[in-house]
């Protein structure tokens, strides 16, 4: 399938990227190449085949719903952010 400029802009938006014009162009070219490559899966007959999403041999591993000792403290985690005030993470305005 053919990838248009508007598709790249849309995918960038879904991915939370703001792209400059030259990046839209170069990523567009790259993505077109990749999508052409992965489209060869069309040739493979998958009729009546169930999908596989994971190859872990176990299911439903349960544990008690209790709070276990944590590896990091609240202070350690808050220390990782760029701006902190009154034990909270500070960000620019939302709206």
């Amino acid at each position: 399938m053919e990838i248009k400029r508007e598709d790249i802009v849309h995918l960038a938006d879904l991915s939370d990227f703001s792209l400059e014009n030259d990046e839209i162009e170069s990523l567009g070219k790259d993505l077109q190449g990749i999508i052409t490559y992965i489209s060869q899966l069309d040739e493979l007959n998958t009729e009546n085949i169930e999908p596989t999403y994971q190859v872990f041999e176990m299911e439903n591993i349960w544990r008690e719903d209790e709070i276990l000792p944590q590896d990091a403290t609240r202070e350690q985690l808050l220390a990782l952010t760029k701006e902190e005030k009154d034990n909270q993470i500070k960000v620019p305005k939302v709206l």
């Binding site: 598709d7 995918l11 991915s15 939370d16 703001s18 493979l44 999908p51 596989t52």
Partner: protein, 458 residues
């Protein structure tokens, strides 16, 4: 075998030797962080224990290198990506904790393709690592720094992660052993996630016995990682002495370097001479493994990497008008071009209108690949294949062509989709002196037998 510290050869001596080699090989750009102070401090503690006659671990004083996507408080864990700049983890990965509990000493963090997206270690924020045998060539990737650190004998072993070949391919490019274990063997707690259904932790070593020891130490269930298997590793039984070794007919074609094909044939002759049987396998779905991989893995990447937003940790872009702009500016500046390609492809294959044609189709292809491996292992004990279609290529040769770079992974990704183990083994040199590697593949949970069998190929 790895040299451990004792009364005559101290841990401090081993660490100082390793640190001197780190300096000597500086121009290979192997390390993103050098743990000089921390390593010497830990070595002194181990030496004090030895002097007091106390019991020390199985890796006492052994210097090792840590891939930059394993969390630990020493240095910043950046996954060689700008967006994680400044991130000093308060948390230690389970695998790291197990190695350190046995006395292993981390000398430094190794360079990698940012977020492990790549097959050459050129997609790193810190620039490329150079190949151990030719400085003008790539280290392979994504665990390139780890492979070169072991190949140049700076450390006894190094950690790696393998989502589609990121341990095996750099191991083969640098002439060392590299294991991608059965999916779920080693806890991934505290390791930067790439694609959760294929990510595996493994190691680079100089010998099969060293690999076995590291697996004995690190394999097993972890309550902090719900996708770990109960420890099957220690209880595994070795295979019979005479085995059936499968070779994949489709991989013997002109897209694979002639010297690699010759090395494979030579090993097959050696195995026959030792009484093993060679079985030819037809595995037609493997041809589609790479396309399926580059749908499934980007989809999981798009999801896993949505957490990097500049809010809680790592790099945050300045001067953003509002929260949305902050997300966009941080992610646009913080990710490398290959990270962006994969995230956008992931969002493409998952988006409405394309989900059935791409993601669902790839998940069905994965079923066929899993089945093909199961069928193959009813006809043979292990499979011997090339790791990659060529030995180490030149720096810059493929970095501008993503599909050419992806083709590097042609023969390694199907193992990750099927969850089976693969061990890259050294297989001599090319006429130009580049390392050649081959890959031994086994059924799930055959890791120990696989490592044991690799001794037949030395």
């Amino acid at each position: 075998m790895m040299k451990t510290a004792n009364k005559t050869v101290t841990a401090t001596r081993l660490v100082k030797d390793a640190l001197a080699k780190v300096k000597h090989f500086e121009d290979y750009n192997i390390f993103t962080f050098i743990n000089e102070e921390g390593a010497l401090k830990k070595a002194a503690e181990i030496d004090a224990k030895i002097a007091r006659g106390e019991k020390v671990g199985r890796l006492a004083g052994v210097p090792y290198a840590l891939k930059d996507n394993f969390l630990s408080p020493e240095g910043e864990t950046t996954a060689s990506a700008h967006i994680l700049e400044g991130f000093s983890s308060p948390v230690t990965a389970t695998a790291v904790a197990k190695l350190e509990a046995e006395g292993a000493i981390m000398i430094g963090r190794t360079n990698m393709d940012a977020f492990a997206h790549g097959s050459s270690t050129e997609n790193s924020y810190f620039g490329p690592t150079r190949n151990a045998f030719d400085k003008e060539r790539v280290a392979g990737g994504s665990s390139g720094g780890s492979a070169v650190a072991v190949a140049l004998d700076i450390v006894e072993f190094a950690t790696g992660t393998d989502t589609g070949g990121s341990i095996r391919q750099p191991a083969s490019f640098n002439g060392v052993y590299g294991l991608k274990p059965t999916y779920g063997t080693i806890s991934r707690y505290g390791v930067v996630a790439m694609a959760s259904s294929t990510d595996c932790i493994g190691f680079f070593t100089k010998t099969p016995d060293d690999m076995n020891l590291l697996m004995e130490i690190t394999a097993g269930q972890d309550p902090k990682d719900m996708t770990t298997l109960p420890d099957y590793y220690k209880e595994s039984t070795p295979k019979e002495s005479s085995l059936r070794i499968g070779i994949i007919k489709d991989f013997d074609n002109e897209s694979v370097d002639i010297e690699i094909r010759k090395a494979l044939k030579k090993k097959c002759e050696e195995l026959k001479a030792k009484g093993h049987e060679i079985v030819e396998l037809e595995m037609p779905a493997l041809k589609y493994a790479l396309a399926a991989y580059y749908i499934i893995v980007p989809a999981e990447i798009a999801s896993n990497l949505s957490r990097y937003d500049g809010i809680r940790y790592g790099f945050r872009a300045g001067d953003s008008q509002d929260l949305n702009a902050l997300y966009k500016n941080t992610r646009s500046e913080g990710f490398m071009p290959e990270n962006k390609r994969r995230i956008m492809i992931g969002n493409f294959v998952l988006s409405s209108g394309f989900y059935d044609a791409y993601f669902l189709k790839a998940a069905k292809a994965r079923t066929l690949i899993v089945k093909e491996y199961a069928d193959a292992f009813s006809k043979c004990d292990f499979i011997l294949t090339p790791v990659s279609p060529n030995p180490a290529f030149k720096l810059g040769e493929k970095v501008g062509d993503p599909v050419a770079m992806y083709l590097e992974d042609m023969m390694s990704v199907s193992l990750n989709l099927a969850g089976v183990p693969g061990l890259a083994i050294p297989a001599g040199k090319t006429k130009d002196g580049l390392a050649l590697g081959l890959q031994l593949v086994g059924p799930r949970r055959s890791d120990k037998a696989l490592i044991e069998f690799s001794k037949e190929l030395i």
